[in-house]
């Protein structure tokens, strides 16, 4: 089974991204997605910085994919999107229908990101016709939902990717929740999201985890974890196990232990971390926050 690393959903400094990807380059991860997917105001990395990071990772044998923004409203966001999609070096991950439109017009293949709603064979076939080569499956679909879709994807030659680690992206809003929490208007947010390496936890008044706010994105409070189920996903036809970054050190540990397990065909992944709560209910057709050991 191949492994992939999703774009960092959080806002880090240029130095932090560069240090992280230098370390990622030394791991056995197969594919690395790069770029800003949440907020167009986050500009610690220019498009050229991302391309340079991509060229570096490609030189280390990684497949590199540039990810696009998920919620695009302003015209300036569309012009940046066009630059990302139309660059010649790398494949792109389309996270909004606008990216699919631009890729299709440019005759480029694309990976469909998990915020693109593909739930059935009819839409899967349509996006394949428009140039989709890999389908990063929406987070709320589980193994039973996928059973009748996977044969169609295999027949069309579309690769399948499913998240096995990291907080799940659950919603996008016009409102910036991080700015709201700090009582600041979005237009003068002071880039408060850079203070939190993996977002801000939102708990119920009884202390149960609920969500993680990350700018305009709301993530699952719990970290998805299907690491010890990777063989079941592989047997079901999933080609790529996707890791969504949390803090750098933990992410690197997850990459190392998962790639070791897949390389040696070990069912269990040698990774423990009691500092975060976990869930994997979606794969088992339950509420997403449930956890099956």
């Amino acid at each position: 089974m191949k492994t992939s690393l999703a774009a960092v959903p959080y806002f880090w400094t240029q130095q932090a991204y560069q240090d992280f990807y230098h370390q990622v380059a030394e791991t056995d991860i197969d594919t690395v997605y790069l770029g800003e997917t949440v907020c167009s105001k986050r500009r610690s990395m220019t498009l050229q910085d991302w391309i340079d990071a991509g060229i570096f990772l490609q030189g280390k044998g990684k497949q590199v994919v540039l990810s696009t923004m998920t919620l695009l409203e302003a015209e300036s966001e569309l012009s940046y999107l066009k630059k990302v999609v139309q660059q010649k070096e790398f494949l792109v991950e389309a996270n909004d229908m606008s990216a699919i439109q631009v890729a299709n017009q440019a005759g480029k293949h694309f990976v469909s990101g998990n915020a693109i709603n593909i739930y059935n064979n009819q839409s899967l076939s349509l996006f394949h016709k428009l140039g989709m080569t890999r389908w990063n499956i929406p987070v709320e679909l589980g193994q039973q939902d996928l059973k009748p879709v996977i044969p169609k994807a295999q027949e069309l030659g579309v690769e399948l990717e499913y998240q096995v680690y990291g907080r799940m992206p659950l919603a996008y809003s016009a409102r910036c929740f991080t700015a709201r929490h700090h009582d600041l208007p979005k237009d003068r947010c002071q880039f408060k999201c850079k203070d939190d390496v993996e977002g801000i936890p939102v708990k119920t008044r009884e202390g149960d985890s609920f969500a993680q706010i990350n700018g305009i994105q709301t993530q699952s409070g719990k970290v998805s974890n299907l690491l010890n189920h990777w063989q079941k996903l592989y047997a079901a036809g999933i080609d790529y196990a996707r890791i969504v970054p949390v803090a750098p050190d933990t992410t690197l540990q997850v990459i190392k232990s998962l790639t070791q397990a897949t390389a040696n065909n070990q069912p269990l992944v040698d990774f423990t971390d009691d500092s975060r709560e976990y869930c994997n209910g979606y794969w088992f057709q339950m509420a997403g926050l449930e956890m099956i050991a």
């Binding site: 919620l71 606008s98 009819q122 929406p138 016009a174 008044r205 969500a211 709301t218």
Partner: protein, 329 residues
């Protein structure tokens, strides 16, 4: 500018038509639409009666088939499309590209309105749906500012419809999985958000707690207004503070910017609320009909008394123009 009103049953449909709606939107009694609530929506028999009543009064009927079919349920969505296309519906409101593809396999020109659940927020997304499915109209998500709506309406290849009044979704619709994360049921798949089957109320020592699948969404002291536990409108703990982390219980009301929306070329105003009572539909349709008529005739602002009627019907008795106003964001 059209007034598009919701109806969850035949009496509501009649009220909307009588109050001068240009179109009424409805859904079938299954999970193919985003208000799949028990006791709501139309059987074939009632729909035939409703279409007849509307058409005799020069009102259109739009049918929402705007959830995302998973492969195992595909036949339910396909047969709902078949029924809608054969029964006299004027337009289908659709979100899933597979369903749009299916409609186009049956007809090159049956009118398709892009549902808000498809989350098209920019020109290239609208171009995508226009070029691939020849959609006639798009309903914009409630995430855009007035300036963004205006720019989009000027360049859009299709007609633009926006929400005018009713529940306020603060997330880009069709891309919010918070409900299935908490309960296993979501707007995209089952047409529900924070489903009532998972709601539990508890009262202890004068404190009322509302829970969704056991998680505490909010709690109310005596005298506080207790609202339905919609998961994004509860009070939570964030870094030691108890706050409405995502949004307060409040409704959308864009009446104050109606002249600007009209000026921008928006062709239709949509009222949210197929789950509401016939009396609610009657009041809201009446107030909005007058407001639209006065804007079309002389761009006058709507009167205060009518605005208060809407506020009284709003969640938490509060309204906002939401994301249309940049400072809300």
């Amino acid at each position: 500018m059209e007034l598009v009103c919701p109806a969850g049953n035949y009496p509501s449909l009649v009220k909307a038509v009588d109050q001068g709606a240009n179109a009424v939107y409805i859904g079938f009694k299954n999970e193919t639409n985003a208000r799949h609530f028990s006791g709501l929506n139309f059987s074939e028999k009632h729909l035939l009666k409703g279409i007849d009543y509307a058409h005799r009064n020069n009102c259109k009927i739009y049918c929402a088939i705007n959830t995302y079919p998973r492969q195992d349920g595909w036949k339910t969505w396909a047969s709902s499309v078949d029924m809608a296309m054969g029964i006299g519906i004027d337009s289908l409101i659709v979100a899933d590209t597979g369903v749009m593809d299916y409609i186009r396999s049956r007809s090159d020109d049956f009118p398709i309105h892009l549902s808000v659940q498809a989350s098209a927020t920019n020109l290239e997304a609208l171009n995508f749906y226009h070029q691939n499915f020849a959609i006639r109209r798009a309903v914009l998500p409630r995430v855009l500012s007035l300036k963004q709506v205006t720019q989009l309406a000027q360049k859009s290849p299709v007609e633009i419809e926006v929400f005018g009044f009713g529940s306020l979704c603060i997330m880009a619709e069709g891309r919010c999985y918070l409900s299935s994360y908490l309960t296993g049921e979501s707007p995209n798949t089952q047409g529900v958000c924070s489903p009532s089957s998972h709601v539990r109320w508890e009262e202890n020592d004068g404190v009322l707690k509302s829970r969704l699948n056991n998680l505490l969404i909010d709690q109310f002291e005596e005298g506080e207004n207790a609202g339905y536990p919609t998961l994004c409108k509860g009070r939570f703990e964030v870094q030691g503070n108890i706050e409405y982390a995502l949004e307060e219980p409040t409704s959308l009301n864009t009446m104050d910017i109606l002249p600007e929306l009209h000026q921008a070329g928006v062709v239709a105003i949509k009222i949210e609320g197929r789950q509401r009572s016939p009396a609610y539909i009657e009041t809201v349709a009446n107030v909005w009909r007058k407001a639209i008529d006065s804007v079309i005739s002389n761009s006058a602002k709507p009167n205060e008394q009518d605005k208060q009627k809407l506020t009284a019907l709003s969640e938490g008795r509060q309204t906002t123009i939401g994301a249309y106003e940049r400072s809300w964001q």
